[in-house]
C-alpha cells in the first residue's frame, strides 16, 4: 500500500510539475533521426509558391473592378419613373374632406401615376381648380389651396354654406395670399355651374346701394378692402386682412387677374330682354334659382330692379321661361295665388292682368303668362306703374330676336338638397 501511495505521489508530483507550465510540453521535440535535403528543396518551392500567391493577391487589390467605384450611374438621367413632383401641389389630407369626398376627389383628380411623357401640369391643375397660376406671381405669396365640395363646404364657411348650395354650388376653391409683412388676402372662388346662378349669387350678396361694374362678361364691385366678382359660372369673393393701400392694391390686382383669366359664358337670355329691349342697366339684373320672392314654387326667375338706388320702394320686374305655354300659365297662376296670400286682390290692369296689393307695404304686384314666358312685377308703387311695366315686358318679349327666344329654356329643376345641375 505504501508503495502505491508513494508511486502516486511521485507521479502526481511529476504531473503537477508539468501542469504548472502554461504552455505546451515537448512542443518542438520530434523523434526522427534522419533528414533529407530534398525536403528543403520542396519546401523552398512551396514557399516560393506562397510568395506568388501573395503577389497575386496584392496585384488584384491594386486593380479594382471599375464598376464597383463608378458613380456615373448615380449622376445620369432623370428619375427612373420620369415623373416629377409638381411644386405647390400641396393638398389637404383626404381625412379632412368629409365623407364621400374621397370618391369625388378621386374621380376628379388624376388617379394613375404620371407616365414619363405625360405633361406634369394636369396633376397640378386638378389641385388648383379654376384658380389661375398667375395669382402667385405677385408680391403676396400664395398659401395653401383648399378645395371644397357641397358636402364639406360648411367646414370652410360654417353658416353661410346653405346660401351657396341654394345656387347649385359645384365646388369652391379658396386660397390665402400673404405678404411678407403679414397682411393677407383671401379668395373664395365658387363654381356654380351656370352664369345665371353665379349672377344670382353675386346679386344676392350685394347691398341694394352697391353699384356694380359690368364689363366684357364680368360683373364686379369693390368695397373698401373687399371685392366681389362674377364671370361665367364663377363667383369670387376677395377679402383683405386690412385696409392698407398694399392690401387694396393686391385685391385690385387679383380681381384683374380673375377677370381676365376666368372663362366667361354667354350671358343669360334674360339680359337680352332687360338690357337690350328694356334698356335697363345690366348691373341691376339678378336671378333667383329657387324661392324667388320667398315663394317655394318660384324657381329659375330672372329679376331686374327698377327702383333708383336711394328710393324707398323696391320695384322689380321679373320673368321666367317654361317648357310650354301650359307650364307658363300654371306658374303665373301660382304667382297670383302667392301675391294674393300676401295681401288682397286689387283689380286688374287694363290688359287684364290681375293685381294684388300687399297688406303691409301697400305695393302692387301681378304676374301673367305670355306664350312660354311668365312675366310679372313685384312691389310697384302704383297700379299704373305696374301696368306700365307689364306692358314693357310684353313688348320686349315679342321684340326678342328668334335666336334668343329659342335659347330661352328653363333650367333643370333643382333636386332636393341642392345638388349639382
Amino acid at each position: 500500500m505504501t508503495n502505491r501511495v508513494e508511486a502516486r505521489e511521485q507521479s502526481g508530483r511529476k504531473a503537477g510539475a508539468s501542469d504548472e507550465r502554461v504552455f505546451v510540453r515537448d512542443g518542438l521535440r520530434s523523434y526522427r533521426r534522419t533528414y533529407r535535403r530534398q525536403e528543403v528543396y520542396w519546401g523552398a518551392a512551396i514557399v516560393a509558391g506562397l510568395l506568388g500567391v501573395l503577389l497575386w493577391v496584392r496585384h488584384k487589390g491594386q486593380h479594382p473592378d471599375p464598376s464597383l467605384y463608378d458613380m456615373s450611374a448615380a449622376l445620369s438621367g432623370a428619375a427612373p419613373t420620369g415623373a416629377q413632383v409638381v411644386v405647390g401641389a400641396e393638398r389637404t389630407p383626404l381625412a379632412d374632406r368629409g365623407p364621400g369626398a374621397a370618391v369625388q376627389e378621386a374621380s376628379r383628380a388624376n388617379p394613375a401615376p404620371a407616365p414619363a411623357d405625360a405633361p406634369a401640369d394636369t396633376a397640378g391643375a386638378a389641385e388648383r381648380g379654376p384658380l389661375p397660376p398667375e395669382l402667385a406671381a405677385g408680391a403676396f405669396r400664395e398659401g395653401k389651396i383648399g378645395a371644397y365640395t357641397p358636402d364639406n363646404l360648411y367646414v370652410k364657411i360654417d353658416g353661410r354654406a346653405e346660401y351657396y348650395l341654394g345656387f347649385g354650388l359645384k365646388s369652391m376653391h379658396s386660397v390665402t395670399l400673404e405678404s411678407s409683412s403679414g397682411a393677407s388676402v383671401e379668395i373664395e372662388l365658387y363654381d356654380l355651374g351656370a352664369a345665371r346662378n353665379a349672377l344670382g349669387c353675386y346679386n344676392g350678396e350685394r347691398a341694394p346701394g352697391a353699384e356694380s361694374t359690368v364689363e366684357s362678361g364680368s360683373t364686379f364691385r369693390f368695397d373698401r378692402n373687399a371685392a366681389f366678382l362674377t364671370r361665367g359660372p364663377y363667383y369670387a369673393r376677395f377679402v383683405g386682412s386690412d385696409e392698407t393701400p398694399e392690401v387694396v392694391a393686391e385685391v385690385q390686382r387679383l380681381v384683374e387677374i380673375l377677370r381676365t383669366k376666368l372663362p366667361s359664358e354667354e350671358r343669360p337670355w334674360a339680359f337680352d330682354l332687360f338690357v337690350d329691349q328694356l334698356k335697363l342697366p345690366a348691373s341691376q339684373v339678378s336671378y333667383a334659382r329657387e324661392n324667388a320672392f320667398s315663394f317655394g314654387f318660384a324657381h329659375d326667375v330672372y329679376k331686374v330692379s327698377l327702383s333708383a338706388a336711394d328710393s324707398q320702394d323696391n320695384m322689380e320686374a321679373f320673368v321666367a321661361v317654361k317648357a310650354d305655354a301650359a307650364g307658363a300659365s300654371s306658374m303665373a297662376k301660382q304667382f297670383q295665388d302667392g301675391f294674393r296670400s300676401l295681401g288682397a286682390a286689387a283689380g286688374q290692369t287694363p290688359a287684364g292682368v290681375p293685381l294684388f296689393k300687399d297688406e303691409f307695404l301697400g305695393s302692387f304686384s301681378g304676374a301673367t303668362a305670355s306664350e312660354r314666358w311668365v312675366i310679372g312685377v313685384n312691389s310697384a308703387p302704383s297700379a299704373e306703374r305696374a301696368h306700365q311695366v307689364l306692358q314693357q315686358l310684353e313688348q320686349g318679349l315679342h321684340a326678342l330676336p328668334e335666336a334668343v327666344r329659342v335659347k330661352a329654356q328653363p333650367a333643370p329643376e333643382p333636386a332636393k338638397g341642392g345638388e349639382n345641375e
Binding site: M71, A74, L75, S76, G77, A78, A79, V85, V87, A139, R141, S180
Partner: protein, 364 residues
C-alpha cells in the same frame, strides 16, 4: 484499542516532562500566540476595512457609502467650448460679407477673404484649425448634397499657407461615415491636401454643455477634433430642405451632434438657433458652386442641381444664409425661415444682409 493495551497504559505511569520538553512546549505556545495575534489582526483589519468602506460618511476618503443611490448614478464629464466661441476680434473697417463669383476656386476664396480683411486676420501661425464640411450623404459631389471637395481643397491650402499647424476635417454623417467620406470625394481631397480626417467613432464623442440653449443644453458632441483646436471654419453647400426650407451654413453645425439627434426635427428652427448659439465659428464659407434647389437635402438627380459659381464668406452665418436665400436660392420675397428670427433675437447674427457691408468680386 484492545483492553490489554488500555490496561497497560493505565498501569504504566506516564513519564514526567523534562525541562527541555517544557521549554519546547512554551516555544510552541509562543508561536501559537503569535499566529493568533497575526490572525486576529488580519481579521480585525479586514472587518475594519469592510466597515469603513460601507459605513464611513461619503465625503471621507475611500468610503463607498451610498445611502440613497445618488452616488451610484452615472455622471459624465460635461465639456465646453471656449468662451466666445472661436471668433476673432471685430474689425469695423472691413466688409462683413465677401462674395466671389467665378470658376477658379482658390482665387475666389482668397478674394472673398480679402474682402473680410485677409486670411491673416483669421488664421495665424501655429493655429489648429477644424474645418467642418457637410458630408451628410453618400452622394457624388456633382449631386450637390455635400460640400464640393475642390472648395475644401482650396480652403485647406489657403489655411495652410496662412501658417496653420494642423488642419482637421470632421463631420458626423447621417449615412455610413466611411462610405460618405469616400464617395463624396472629401476623403481623397483631405488626404491629398495633407489634412487630418476624423471619423466619428464612439470614443470621439463627449457631452457638451451649451448654456442658454433650448434643446442642447447638454448633448453628445463630436468632441475629438476640437481637443486643442483654436479656430473653426464651416463650409457648407446651399440646399433646399423641405422641413426647414433651406440648409446652409447655420444648419451645417448639425453634423457635429451625436446621440439621437433625429428628435430635433420636432422643432427644427429651434435647434438651428441653438446650433448658432453652440458654435461661434471663426468664419463660414457658403459653397454655392452648386445649388441644390429642389428635392433637398438628399438630392439624387442632376436635374435638382444648378451651377451657382459663387462662394460667400462671412463671420456671420445668418448673414451668409440670408444672402444665399435671396440671391442663390432665389427666394427673395418669401419669408425667411423661422430660425433667422430666433437666432437674431439672441444676437447671433444679422439676417438683414443688406444692412451689412458687402463686397462682391468677379473672378474669371
Amino acid at each position: 484499542m484492545s483492553n490489554e493495551r488500555r490496561r497497560a497504559r493505565q498501569v504504566e505511569p506516564t513519564p514526567e516532562p523534562s525541562a527541555q520538553d517544557l521549554e519546547q512546549q512554551r516555544d510552541h505556545q509562543r508561536i501559537e500566540r503569535r499566529a493568533l495575534l497575526k490572525g486576529a489582526l488580519g481579521l480585525g483589519g479586514a472587518v475594519a476595512a469592510a466597515g469603513w468602506v460601507s459605513l464611513a460618511p461619503s465625503s471621507w476618503p475611500l468610503s463607498l457609502r451610498d445611502p440613497d443611490g445618488e452616488r451610484g448614478k452615472p455622471t459624465a464629464a460635461v465639456r465646453s467650448l471656449p468662451e466666445g466661441g472661436f471668433r476673432v476680434p471685430d474689425a469695423p473697417s472691413v466688409a462683413d460679407l465677401g462674395v466671389a463669383h467665378g470658376t477658379q476656386l482658390k482665387p475666389m476664396l482668397l478674394a472673398a477673404l480679402d474682402a473680410l480683411g485677409g486670411v491673416g486676420r483669421f488664421i495665424q501661425r501655429g493655429d489648429v484649425v477644424v474645418i467642418k464640411p457637410n458630408v451628410a450623404f453618400e452622394r457624388p459631389a456633382a449631386l450637390g448634397a455635400t460640400t464640393n471637395p475642390e472648395v475644401l481643397t482650396a480652403l485647406i491650402e489657403i489655411v495652410r499657407e496662412a501658417g496653420a499647424k494642423e488642419i482637421r476635417v470632421a463631420d458626423n454623417p447621417i449615412e455610413s461615415p466611411s462610405s460618405c467620406f469616400v464617395r463624396s470625394g472629401i476623403q481623397a481631397a483631405t488626404q491629398a491636401a495633407g489634412a487630418r480626417l476624423f471619423l466619428p467613432t464612439p470614443e470621439e464623442f463627449a457631452l457638451l454643455g451649451t448654456p442658454g440653449a433650448t434643446w442642447i443644453e447638454r448633448w453628445p458632441f463630436f468632441w475629438g477634433p476640437f481637443v486643442g483646436a483654436n479656430k473653426v471654419i464651416g463650409v457648407s453647400p446651399i440646399k433646399d430642405h423641405n422641413l426647414c426650407r433651406a440648409s446652409m451654413t447655420t444648419k451645417n453645425w448639425y453634423g457635429l451632434l451625436g446621440g439621437r439627434r433625429n428628435q430635433f426635427h420636432q422643432d427644427i428652427h429651434g435647434i438651428i438657433a441653438d446650433l448658432a448659439l453652440m458654435l461661434r465659428p471663426t468664419f463660414v464659407v457658403l459653397d454655392a458652386t452648386r445649388v441644390l434647389f429642389r428635392s433637398g437635402p438628399t438630392g439624387g438627380s442632376l436635374g435638382d442641381v444648378k451651377p451657382g459659381h459663387t462662394v460667400v464668406v462671412s463671420r456671420d452665418s445668418l448673414a451668409a444664409d440670408a444672402y444665399g436665400w435671396d440671391n442663390l436660392l432665389e427666394r427673395q420675397g418669401e419669408a425667411l425661415p423661422a430660425y433667422f428670427a430666433k437666432s437674431a433675437a439672441r444676437q447671433l447674427g444679422q439676417p438683414e444682409w443688406r444692412k451689412l457691408a458687402l463686397r462682391e468680386v468677379n473672378i474669371g
